[in-house]
């Protein structure tokens, strides 16, 4: 085989990495390169340097060290039985490529993952070495996200946390039986154990940093994971319960949902057709309600039919239509928690309403100026000059409001 150029390797190894949904470069400490004399900064905000025609943000150089893998996970394009072209970067090649891209302002940093070659420990060592070299040899202060390999030595994972902003381990499937069936080399219990361990280390490091700014950082942007939607028969209820447990027990920053995407040379045990992208979108919306709107997982699963979120209606609207007894909500008096439950009112709008109502009694017109789509909000609120006497009682309320949502996401 002739030697591949850096460009050829990049094409193969970026292609192999694109099924990881995460490209976030946000969270974590603010820092810059003025003290290291190298390059790189993080503002805590994250920057999307480009967008691909799939609508996804390109923030990080997202590549694999190698797409060779001794694991044979059915849903994965890089599984050992897949017929894709294989390539491997050296540590130096990835370090140089990251710096070359960063200096041209293409990226915020690196998201490095890898197929498992030779052994989990060997692979993890290579990943950690890239991060070490960037930080120590080149004074790189940009963002680093490392995929950790749960089967690896905990000491290696600890080293990874010292260099990385974020660590992640993909659970991929919410139920351990599905992991055993589709990813025979992986072990759900082992993944959870490693996540728990990471969560503990991240929490401890954060507490120590609050005591002393000199305490060493450990993955300051936290940990995340990813679940594949539609590769097995797991329902949305399984997925959200798994996510809720991750947020609660391991302090995860984010759970990503990735609609199973047809991959080249797919295993025939998988569905060839992808699930609707809308299902993935609804999971993200429901996840958002869990994290930022004070919804409990039971409230959301209570609106599901057959373990699935409605595709026609966003989960907040679905909940509101079921719980009409909670509405209408008075925008001039209701507490923040209740305003957050009004379909069509986001957290920013709610905060503006609360500020604005200190100055005047809000009329429907005032609400209209602050929110995006008044038509959607109207049936659920009371304002100084507005009371939705009939709308809220209509049996077809959900369908009257929902169709207008569809084109937004189509």
């Amino acid at each position: 085989m002739t030697k591949l150029t850096r460009l050829e390797k990049l094409s193969i190894l970026a292609d192999a990495a694109k099924y990881d949904a995460s490209c976030a470069s946000s969270g974590g400490a603010r820092r810059d390169s003025r003290e290291t004399g190298g390059i790189g900064s993080t503002t805590g905000m994250g920057i999307c340097h480009s967008y691909a025609p799939d609508g996804r943000c390109i923030s990080l150089l997202k590549v694999l060290m190698t797409n060779m893998c001794m694991f044979d996970c059915t849903y994965c394009i890089n599984r050992s039985s897949s017929n894709v072209r294989r390539a491997a970067f050296t540590v130096a090649e990835i370090v140089d490529l990251t710096l070359d891209f960063y200096k041209r302002n293409y990226i915020e940093g690196l998201f490095l993952s890898s197929g498992i070659v030779r052994s989990p420990d060997y692979t993890m060592e290579q990943i950690v070495e890239v991060a070490r070299s960037l930080r120590e040899d080149h004074g790189f202060r940009g963002y680093i996200h490392l995929k950790t390999i749960p089967e690896g030595d905990p000491e290696l994972i600890a080293r990874a946390g010292r260099y990385a902003d974020r660590l992640s381990i993909n659970i991929e499937l919410p139920q351990d039986e599905a992991i055993a069936a589709l990813a025979p080399e992986k072990d759900g219990a082992c993944i959870r154990r490693t996540m728990a361990d990471l969560g503990k280390r991240i929490g401890e490091a954060r507490a120590e940093r609050q005591e002393s700014r000199k305490a060493p950082a450990f993955a300051p942007a936290g940990q995340s994971t990813q679940m594949i939607v539609g590769a097995d028969n797991s329902g949305d209820d399984h997925m959200l319960r798994t996510s809720a447990a991750f947020y609660r027990d391991y302090g995860l920053k984010r759970v990503y949902y990735s609609a199973f995407s047809p991959i080249p040379d797919a295993s025939r045990t998988l569905p060839a057709q992808p699930p609707p992208l809308m299902r993935e979108h609804r999971l993200y919306q429901a996840d958002w309600l869990l994290r930022n709107y004070g919804f409990s997982v039971d409230e959301i699963t209570g609106t599901m039919q057959g373990g699935r979120l409605s595709l026609d209606m966003d989960p907040k609207l679905a909940w509101a239509v079921e719980r009409r007894d909670m509405f209408p909500v008075d925008v001039n008096r209701a507490p923040r928690e209740m305003l957050l439950r009004v379909p069509g009112l986001g957290a920013k709008v709610v905060d503006r309403l609360i500020l604005a109502r200190r100055h005047r009694r809000l009329r429907l017109e005032d609400v209209g100026r602050l929110c995006r789509v008044l038509r959607k909000v109207r049936p659920f609120i009371v304002a100084a000059d507005w009371r939705p006497t009939r709308l809220i009682d209509r049996a077809d309320l959900g369908t009257r409001l929902a169709p207008a949502q569809l084109p937004l996401f189509a």
Binding site: L7, L10, S11, A14, K18, D32, S33, R34, T36, G37, G38, I39, S41, I47, H49, S50, Y51, A52, P53, D54, G55, R56, C57, L61, K62, M70, F71, D72, S80, S81, S82, N83, F101, K103, R104, N105, Y106, I116, R118, S119, D121, Y122, E151, P184, E185, S261, P262, P264, D265, A266, S267, A272, R352, A356, R358, H359, R360, D366, R369, L370
Partner: protein, 473 residues
């Protein structure tokens, strides 16, 4: 009332606006009486009237306190390109005297307008942080030098200098915009006049790799063009090296997805026809007798001894290895060396007894080179494999197993008739001339792995594949 005119030094001259505004407030000049413009033109006011009213220090005690959160908002909003921004900002200060909490009311129309300007400016700054693309000029005194051309919507160039300095401290850089240029040399930030696209290099070698990355990271199964355009508006595209690829990627997406959904049913093609034996034998004993009597090694380096298969002559499961090794050659039996012992253990773990299985090799003699007193294994050539291929086929026909397990790439090559990678077909029970063929690794592969952790993983997988073979019987 006398109309007052304020001429600011530049379109982003916040300090100038502030000084004028203070003076006007102190003088009690109402917003309707002020005309704002920018020296050299921002958006020239065609109806310019009145006398110059230069900034004067506000009278003592009249100094107006602008709340800190409003000041930040004004700073951002005044970088906007809308000509009415100065007047709007002054009107807010004027109204603030009577309504000190005005700026906290998000539903006030002037505040909504100011928030709107500030938001657009912050977005433009954010997009400049994101979409500036440096090109390398060269290296001077060990420092790399880069330059970029960028066209912002608003008067934000100078406001971004600190961000780029903090981020790119270790390199020299220059960003040229139509209105101003900013630069960093490792010591100080400098500002200069605006320029043109020709002030920066026309290309950069790394751009080809960036384009390759952009094309590869795109998932054609999830086309969302509007989403891309909302976040990366088309007006920025002319300065983005990746943008020329977009049309082609979109155009080709449907075809690529179609190919993926249809693909994946090609494994049968990987199995060629089973060779028809030139001669047929009645039983294995006769076959082996003929093999022993007639076979001449196909190439140099082979042992003189032929090692036959062994096991029940009607076993439902047949395992085919590569060739006998040193110990097999000595003993005249297949799978008795280290690999054979490992195979026995794995068979036991998979719930199989060795004596219920037929074991043989694709190549019937040990091929080696001598190094001192040791005989080192040599991989058989394609010629060697095809030489023994019909003997093997005849062995399979006589034993008539339900499933044949190919141990390693040589066995797979011999059985399938095609030299091919094991990875893509490993562990799959493939239909093969009325039987099943299940390719997996050779146990000697497990012995060669350098790492105990890796060995345990591969061994677990090998045992699972043997179990799958049993289940297929």
């Amino acid at each position: 009332m006398t109309a007052a005119r304020a001429t600011l030094a530049a379109a982003d001259d916040f300090a100038g606006w502030r000084d004028h505004a203070r003076a006007f407030l102190a003088a009690g000049i109402a917003p309707e009486g002020v005309v704002w413009d920018v020296a050299g033109g921002d958006a020239p006011d065609l109806f310019g009237i009145g006398a110059m009213a230069g900034p004067t220090a506000p009278a003592d005690g009249e100094a107006i306190r602008v709340p800190r959160d409003l000041l930040g908002l004004l700073r951002d909003a005044l970088m906007h390109s809308a000509p009415h921004r100065f007047a709007l900002a002054y009107r807010l200060l004027w109204r603030l005297r009577a309504a000190p909490h005005l700026h906290r009311d998000p539903s006030d129309p002037d505040m909504i307008a100011l928030h709107g300007l500030a938001k657009a400016v912050r977005r433009d700054i954010h997009k400049m942080h994101a979409f500036v693309r440096f090109r390398k000029i060269g290296v001077v005194d060990g420092r790399e030098q880069f330059a970029a051309w960028f066209e912002p919507d608003h008067h934000i160039a100078r406001a971004t200098a600190g961000f780029f300095r903090d981020r790119f401290a270790g390199m020299d850089w220059l960003i040229v915009t139509p209105e101003a240029s900013i630069a960093w040399d490792g010591v100080a930030l400098r500002e200069g006049p605006g320029g043109s696209r020709d002030d920066v290099p026309a290309e950069d070698a790394v751009e080809a790799e960036w384009q390759a990355y952009y094309a590869s990271i795109f998932n054609p199964a999830r086309l969302k063009i509007n989403m891309m355009k909302r976040e990366m508006p088309v007006r920025y595209w002319r300065n983005l090296p990746e943008a020329p690829l977009i049309a082609g990627l979109i155009g080709d997406a449907g075809r690529r997805v179609g190919a993926m959904v249809e693909g994946g049913t090609r494994s049968e093609e990987r199995l060629a026809e089973i060779p028809v034996a030139e001669r047929r034998f009645d039983n294995l004993d006769r076959l082996y007798a003929a093999l022993d009597a007639e076979d001449a090694p196909p190439s140099p380096g082979f042992s003189r001894r032929v090692v036959f298969g062994e096991g029940p002559s009607s076993a439902p499961l047949m395992l085919v290895g590569e060739q006998p090794g040193d110990q097999e050659d000595e003993a005249g039996r297949p799978f008795v060396g280290p690999a054979g012992q490992l195979l026995d253990q794995c068979l036991a773990e998979a719930g199989l007894a060795r004596d219920g299985i037929f074991l043989t090799n694709a190549v019937k003699r040990f091929k080696f080179t001598e190094r001192g007193r040791r005989r080192i294994h040599q991989t058989p050539t394609t010629g060697d494999i095809s030489h023994y291929r019909w003997w093997l086929a005849e062995e399979v026909r006589l034993v008539a197993p339900k499933i044949v397990v190919a141990l390693g790439a040589t066995a797979l090559h011999a059985l399938s008739g095609r030299k091919q990678a094991l990875g893509p077909v490993r562990g799959a029970a493939l239909p093969w001339g009325g039987r099943l063929l299940l390719p997996t690794v050779h146990p000697s592969f497990l012995l060669r792995l350098p790492d105990e952790q890796g060995r345990a993983i591969e061994r677990g997988r090998f045992v699972r594949e043997l179990r799958r073979a049993v289940a297929a019987i």
